[in-house]
């Protein structure tokens, strides 16, 4: 689970101390009047990364992209691209292209003209532009639509034109602001994989903004979880999910149950936490915790087993009453109410048909998990 620093076959330049980042934010702050949209932010993005910015609406994701594209100027701090400070470089001279949330296709131009627009500004020859446009149209599979105007296309087609247009100049960095937000679920999932393939094929660094955690988990090499203008954690999807740094991150990515308690014993990575009700739990922690300090046990619903009989082989167990069962096809989520009134969510895969299942509403059940399933969080 823990990422190691010297695996050469895995793509992980962020673990390589000698690698220079393509993009570096150095203590960047952006204020609109009294309001701080980005607060003293520092982060590195490496070449060929697929970097996802994830956070609730209004946390500053778009502002971050606009700072990079050059539409906003940082109030404090520096932004470096390839080691050069670009704070004073206007947007039209940055090696960065952006795919807008609204796509921003030029309504008075055909698809081909839209895609060729950036190349025309560079003063390339007609033949060169035509060739590159054809290439891009093939890439996004819109060959037959070259002469159409944007309003004659479907949402998914417009999205691909916008993508082709922003890739036509072969930028070092492509910024994508909620590129799939306007698509329906099926199309969105397909497009996620297309984006990943494209990114791998072209070797362009992608920075994608999304508020959809599943999307970020699927596409990204690393995810930055943002919260009100600050970055709460930057890590690989697996690390974000399995080793969140705090409750905000673990709550934002997927479902999680928290139990507050006091640390009573520690041995290597194994910690004993005593809950307010006086019950002991065994859990895992990467870092040492002080005895008698407050901590939270965090456990994902799918790591909790539900049973009618008390589990003999597990040290972590809780008794409760089934309050609700959310059936969603392949899995069921059990909302179990403890004696102190707290609700715990547990997930089980539905191996049997619905009618054969033993556990139902108002049943008295046992919840249990292994010693390493839960982690300890201190903030």
């Amino acid at each position: 689970m823990a990422a190691s620093g010297n695996t050469s076959d895995v793509f992980a330049p962020w673990n390589d101390a000698s690698a220079t980042p393509l993009i570096r934010f150095e203590g960047v702050t952006k204020r609109y009047g009294d309001f701080t949209a980005i607060d003293n932010l520092t982060l590195d993005i490496y070449e060929r990364e697929f970097y996802a910015l994830l956070g609730p609406s209004g946390c500053g994701k778009t502002t971050l992209l606009r700072l990079l594209a050059g539409f906003e100027e940082a109030t404090e701090g520096r932004i470096l691209i390839g080691g050069k400070d670009i704070s004073k470089v206007p947007p039209n001279q940055r090696p960065v292209n952006m795919m807008f949330q609204s796509y921003a296709l030029f309504p008075h131009m055909s698809v081909a003209k839209n895609i060729g627009f950036g190349l025309k500004q560079e003063g390339r020859s007609k033949d060169e532009i035509a060739q590159r446009v054809a290439e891009m149209l093939t890439l996004v599979q819109l060959q037959e639509f070259a002469k159409r105007k944007p309003h004659q296309l479907s949402g998914g087609q417009r999205q691909r034109v916008a993508l082709a247009r922003s890739l036509a100049k072969n930028p070092k960095l492509l910024l994508l602001d909620e590129p799939l937000g306007a698509l329906d679920k099926k199309l969105r999932e397909r497009t996620q994989f297309e984006l990943m393939n494209l990114q791998e094929k072209l070797g362009v660094t992608f920075m994608i903004v999304t508020h959809d955690q599943e999307e970020a988990m699927t596409v990204a090499s690393r995810i930055a979880i943002m919260d009100k203008g600050i970055v709460a954690q930057v890590d690989t999807p697996a690390m974000i999910y399995e080793a969140p740094k705090n409750r905000y991150v673990s709550d934002f990515i997927g479902d999680v149950n928290f139990i507050e308690g006091t640390v009573t014993a520690q041995q290597d990575h194994e910690i004993t936490l005593q809950s307010a009700a006086g019950q002991d739990f065994i859990l895992h922690s990467d870092k040492p915790l002080a005895i008698s300090s407050t901590a939270w046990l965090a456990i994902r619903p799918e790591k909790i087993a539900v049973s009618k009989e008390p589990p003999e082989d597990r040290r972590n167990k809780l008794q409760g009453i089934v309050d609700d069962i959310a059936y969603s096809g392949s899995i069921s989520t059990y909302h179990v109410r403890l004696s102190n009134g707290d609700l715990i969510k547990a997930q089980m895969t539905n191996q049997r048909r619905l009618s054969n299942r033993a556990i139902t509403w108002e049943d008295n059940v046992w919840l249990s998990w292994t010693d390493t399933a839960a982690i300890a969080l201190t903030e």
Partner: protein, 269 residues
């Protein structure tokens, strides 16, 4: 009253309203085809007054001056008015913004006599000879505000991210405006030009104040002729003016309407 209902009251008031508005104009148009020399007696259909009109050099001169003033002032007003609209909608808060927008819009409600008089005083003070150019400048000053109103109402709903996309793809701000913004707001700009053109075409008051001996516009000519007595040629001339103004106004509204439809269809700002 949130139901559209046909009532006798509505029908009557509508009829009276339209008759009141359009009967004089209809009469004028009909009498322009009158064969008789007497303006109020119908003597059969004829186009002789149109022929006479086209042979009357002073009328044709006035028409030519009017046309030149209208085209030139509309063009200058469109450029300046569009720039003013850009400043009004784009520049964020700057010192004196309220004052600036107030100054742009105030000529809309200023009595024409005052505008004309103040311009006259200005031209006299500077010592310019009054004539073609002073009329043109005067027309620019008041039609510019109308242009600013029309264009800025379009710019308010313009999706700024289109411009940003152009910048992002390598345009400098001027090219972004010329290649993206201007083509998209073009219908509004054309409508504004037509509006400025028709405003200049039918202006009498301001032109009277600011014209000199060499430059007489058609409305001035008509006015001075009518004071000497009604002549059938005036009917013909007025009919032509009505046609020109109607074409301008109708074209402007059609352009605006079509652009609105295209925008609704493509679903962008």
């Amino acid at each position: 009253m949130n139901q559209k209902r046909f009532t006798w009251f509505n029908a009557t008031s509508l009829t009276f309203g339209f008759v009141f508005l359009y009967l004089p104009i209809m009469l004028l148009i009909i009498y322009s085809f009158n064969d008789s020399k007497l303006v109020t007696v119908w003597g059969g259909f004829s186009t002789r007054w149109y022929t006479a009109l086209f042979q009357n050099e002073s009328f044709m001169n006035a028409a030519w001056v009017t046309f030149k003033v209208a085209v030139l002032s509309a063009t200058i007003a469109t450029v300046l008015g569009t720039l003013a609209a850009l400043v009004l909608t784009r520049a964020g808060k700057f010192r004196g913004r309220m004052l600036f927008s107030g100054m742009v819009y105030s000529p809309l409600v200023m009595p024409e006599v005052i505008t004309g008089l103040s311009l006259l005083l200005l031209f006299v003070a500077i010592g310019w000879d009054r004539g073609f150019w002073t009329i043109t400048i005067a027309h620019v000053t008041f039609s510019m505000c109308y242009v600013a109103v029309v264009v800025s109402s379009r710019l308010i709903s313009f999706d700024r991210s289109l411009e940003e996309a152009a910048l992002d793809l390598g345009c400098n701000p001027f090219n972004a405006f010329m290649q993206v913004t201007l083509p998209i707001i073009m219908p509004a700009v054309v409508a504004a030009w037509l509006l400025a053109f028709t405003l200049s075409l039918d202006d009498l008051v301001i032109a009277s104040f600011t014209s000199g001996p060499g430059a007489t516009t058609l409305p001035m000519k008509i006015y001075s002729q009518v004071r000497l007595g009604l002549k059938p040629e005036i009917n013909a001339l007025s009919t032509l003016l009505i046609v020109a103004v109607s074409v301008g106004v109708i074209a402007a509204s059609l352009i605006a309407k079509r652009a609105e439809q295209v925008r609704a269809r493509s679903g962008d700002g």
